[in-house]
Symmetry: D2
Subunit: 141 residues, 4 copies
């Protein structure tokens, strides 16, 4: 009975960091900047940047490890998740992350990769963190 959806288009702050759990599952973290520019009451242009903590798991994490680079403009769809943890003084702290479920690299191919792409399928289409029911070809849609 609920919807928890985030849609972002922004620029990657740093090359993603990927680590692998003991069971081989990949987890990828990086931050994504979205910016808004407006004129303040003095007529000066002000840019306000938001930094979003993105987390990808499994296949999305592996793809991000290979293809996502600092500075790229990407589309991310995901869910909000607020984790809590204890800081060094034992105080409960909260961090809000975007648990990514889908990702797109935007702009032209030449933008995103200086080298020729060896796996264009992966790089150029939406990648979703799920085993989507593959549409079979014999259905009329």
């Amino acid at each position: 009975m609920s919807v928890n959806k985030v849609i972002l288009v922004g620029n990657v702050g740093k090359d993603p960091e990927v680590k692998y759990l003991d069971n081989g599952v990949a987890v990828c973290n990086f931050s994504l900047a979205t910016s808004e520019t407006y004129n303040n009451k003095n007529g000066e242009k002000v840019t306000q940047t938001e930094w979003h903590n993105i987390v990808f798991w499994r296949k999305l994490a592996e793809i991000a490890e290979t293809y996502v680079k600092k500075g790229m403009q990407i589309y991310v769809e995901g869910q909000l998740r607020t984790r809590n943890w204890e800081d060094k003084d034992g105080v409960k702290r909260y961090t809000t992350e975007i648990f990514g479920t889908s990702m797109q690299m935007l702009g032209r191919k030449a933008d995103n990769n200086s080298e020729p792409q060896t796996n264009p399928e992966v790089a150029q289409h939406t990648v979703a963190d799920s085993t989507e029911a593959e549409e079979t070809d014999d259905l009329p849609f």
Copy 2:
């Protein structure tokens, strides 16, 4: 390299129609109304209603067949698809549909079902038209 996403909250116009293909796959069609009210230049309140053709396949179609009823307020997420077909005069015609990928029944339980719900899990949570990678319990998220 693209995103095609529709998000609707509206009211179901009629009980969904479901048919089953020879291979047992369910297909469900119904229309969903979204309305906007505004004041025109004469200060009169005007309501403008849009009717959306919704199509669900497989499990989503089966769930809609069982639980979705005329008048219900639901959330639908999906993609735009424009089909073409020939009318009786052989003229090519186009129909735009929302290929639903996720659905929610909104409002309280009592709103949506006069009878007690025998399968609350199905009725009260998001249902997606995909075999989502079930989150396993041994992962720290």
Copy 3:
């Protein structure tokens, strides 16, 4: 060059708290719960709830003050904003909020208000935190 969008459908955790700035501007805060249920690896049903900090300003805040109540199911559209502040030990802390730009009360009227509505126009249509260019009636759309 960026998009920062959040779409939530959830239940209001408490009656909204509204305060008015010296210039008369209303600010409204409340938390909104979204829940997901899944089966863990032992086959047990587990519900995971996320709490979102919602902030409304101006007209949206005033409408929320009047109509939004604990328990209601609402739709919220907005942007992610992470504020930083100093805790009592002078440590920089971060809080992520949803700066709401649009809101809808869902479900039937009877769900959302025990008393008769004195201002149904306000309560029953989308309210956006902007002075939208009102569509004039003489345009063909």
Copy 4:
């Protein structure tokens, strides 16, 4: 009590066509392609392209006229609207359009404009079809 939202990232099919009504209001039409690639049951890669009819009004139309070009990758947010009209045989026909409310040009500047941009503010930030309440600088958000 409803939500009617479309979010697209795709490529512009042709340079937008803009016309001006007698009252000076600009209306802009163009089509936007979104594509999906999947493997069919024979393991062949199939690309399915959807064409969306986009309509912009007023300022968005004027900006599109100046900056949006065939081939560009853009983000469009809007609403679904189905118009009906009579074809030459007097038959009622339907056309579904996306009434755009917000637009972004994606990718690097060099992607989208071969010439230097004379109005970077307009071209590089989100443009919404509304007179948004300008955030004033004296509010703490």
